[in-house]
């Protein structure tokens, strides 16, 4: 991992180029305008969260970054390059881990899928997959099938698969939305650490305002119909964050008020 951090350590020149840049994006789907006039950028290594009511195009935004969708107007840039399609640099964690994992592959096999796609030599795959599973707290569970694992474990497998890509951009689409509260908190702390260690840029979509503040360096609040940027808040809370201490800080509560007011007003 150290090797990766140094490889992607933002040099002075790289800092000038945003990891993700949206420039006046408009997207029409089925004759309906889903996203309009959306401009924002995320700096390399930044942890950016996106909140907003349903139908504001949060998930669409991630698809635009992956290149699975192309904007009707405007341009999306990734690491300074125009987005033409999916790239191994960009990994995405889906909310529905149950559907995003191959049921016929074990945990290790699912992680190995990404390694195979990355062209990792056959002999190294097993060890790399085991190391990645270890990293997400699944040591010793490598030969379990998804059906034999809890939701939290399955989501950890998906995270390990994404880390196998050694992504420079990690996209997450409400990854903890379907998990119970305790598992969610544990995974929040783990993902914050994993992202920091890898030096990747994170774009994290959630409907949970507290989660957005807890994880993010910045929070983008979107509004719906059509989706567009309503507000950006900077989260100046010290890291590493702590489930109890951070959530009790006055600044956390202030930001929570700001976001809540915003959500109330845009509804």
């Amino acid at each position: 991992m150290n090797q990766m951090t140094s490889r992607f350590a933002p040099s002075a020149a790289a800092c000038a180029v945003p990891a993700i840049a949206f420039d006046k994006i408009r997207l029409d789907l089925g004759g309906k305008c889903v996203v309009d006039d959306l401009s924002f950028s995320v700096a390399p290594g930044e942890f950016a969260c996106v909140v907003g009511p349903s139908g504001c195009g949060k998930t669409t935004l991630l698809r635009l970054v992956t290149g699975l969708l192309s904007p009707t107007r405007g341009t999306v840039h990734r690491l300074g390059a125009f987005v033409g399609g999916p790239s191994p640099d960009v990994a995405i964690v889906f909310q529905d881990y149950g559907r995003a994992l191959l049921p016929w592959r074990t945990a290790a096999g699912n992680v190995a899928l990404a390694l195979e796609a990355m062209g990792t030599p056959r002999l190294e795959r097993a060890a790399r997959a085991a190391a990645l599973l270890d990293k997400v707290g699944l040591a010793g569970h490598g030969d379990k099938y998804p059906a034999q694992m809890s939701g939290g474990m399955q989501q950890r497998v998906q995270i390990a698969r994404c880390l196998a890509q050694e992504p420079r951009i990690l996209l997450m689409d409400e990854p903890f939305g379907a998990l119970d509260a305790l598992t969610r908190q544990a995974l929040q702390d783990e993902i914050a650490m994993l992202v920091r260690d890898s030096g990747a840029t994170a774009l994290f979509v959630t409907h949970d305002l507290d989660e957005a503040i807890y994880l993010g360096d910045r929070v983008f609040a979107l509004q719906a119909n059509p989706g567009r940027l309503a507000q950006v808040i900077d989260v100046a809370l010290p890291r590493p964050r702590d489930q109890l201490g951070t959530r009790e800080q006055p600044e956390f509560l202030r930001l929570r008020h700001v976001l809540f007011d915003h959500v109330q007003n845009t509804h």
């Binding site: 992956t66 699975l68 399609g85 999916p86 790239s87 191994p88 960009v90 990994a91 995405i92 889906f94 529905d96 559907r99 995003a100 191959l102 049921p103 016929w104 592959r105 899928l113 990404a114 195979e116 796609a117 099938y145 059906a147 034999q148 890509q165």
Partner: protein, 253 residues
């Protein structure tokens, strides 16, 4: 315990059927020329297997059935994968397939004989044609019903079409394919026997029809019993194969 009771019950039922057969024939209710006693049948079967050419005939039928089945399975999986993965191929080919599918393979035998003559390969081709459908249709379904989220995963990992077919399509279709192959083997046995009867190729089919025509009822029943055993053995072996090939479906915590 419950399982054991069920098994005992099923064996009991088989014995009752055999007993009824014995009762009906031994009391002279049915004349032996139409239905021999079970004992006479098994004696004849044993003699045929050990002294006669019944074993060679069974082997020849089974070989034909298995080759036809392998052809049908291979063709069904390859063609099904192509059609299942490409919506365009589905669009172009489904009307033709819908026309060909309901055709009973036995009706194609005269066509095959007229076109290619009485070749063993012709019969093999007809067996494969008739037995391809139980494999082809589930394979198409298995390859075309891949979870959309998994398609997205494949796209973000930039997995190529061949790797997608092998790593996503094939395992997704495998349970359907194996179920189809089981049905296909049964179809193969039927078409093989009917085909041997019609084309007089050496095998159990032709032996049975010759026995029936010359009123050798013990030979006839011996052949039928043998076919029943072959069919049951097929199914049992494929059941084991299914468990071995799709471990994720039986693995539970």
């Amino acid at each position: 315990m419950n399982n054991w009771l069920l098994r005992a019950g099923s064996i009991l039922l088989t014995s009752v059927v055999l007993l009824l057969w014995q009762l009906v024939t031994a009391t002279g209710l049915v004349r032996p020329i139409f239905m021999p006693t079970p004992a006479a049948t098994f004696v004849d079967l044993w003699r045929g297997l050990t002294q006669g050419d019944l074993l060679a005939l069974t082997m020849s039928t089974m070989q034909r059935m298995i080759f036809g089945w392998l052809l049908a399975s291979l063709g069904g999986v390859l063609l099904g994968a192509l059609i299942g993965l490409s919506s365009r191929a589905r669009y172009w080919l489904s009307p033709t397939l819908e026309l060909l599918r309901p055709l009973p393979a036995s009706t194609l035998l005269p066509v095959g004989i007229a076109l290619f003559g009485l070749h063993p390969q012709m019969l093999l081709g007809i067996i494969a044609f008739g037995a391809i459908w139980p494999v082809l249709l589930p394979t198409i379904h298995g390859f075309s019903s891949i979870e959309p989220r998994l398609r997205e995963v494949a796209k973000t990992l930039r997995i190529g079409p061949l790797a997608f077919a092998l790593k996503f399509g094939l395992p997704n279709a495998l349970p359907d394919i194996i179920a189809g192959m089981r049905l296909s083997l049964t179809a193969c046995l039927i078409i093989t026997v009917v085909g041997e009867m019609i084309t007089a190729q050496q095998g159990l089919g032709s032996t049975i029809i010759m026995a029936a025509r010359s009123f050798r009822s013990t030979d006839l029943y011996a052949g039928i019993v043998l076919l029943g055993v072959v069919g049951a053995a097929n199914n049992a072996l494929l059941g084991l194969l299914e468990i071995g090939l799709t471990p994720w479906r039986t693995a539970r915590t």
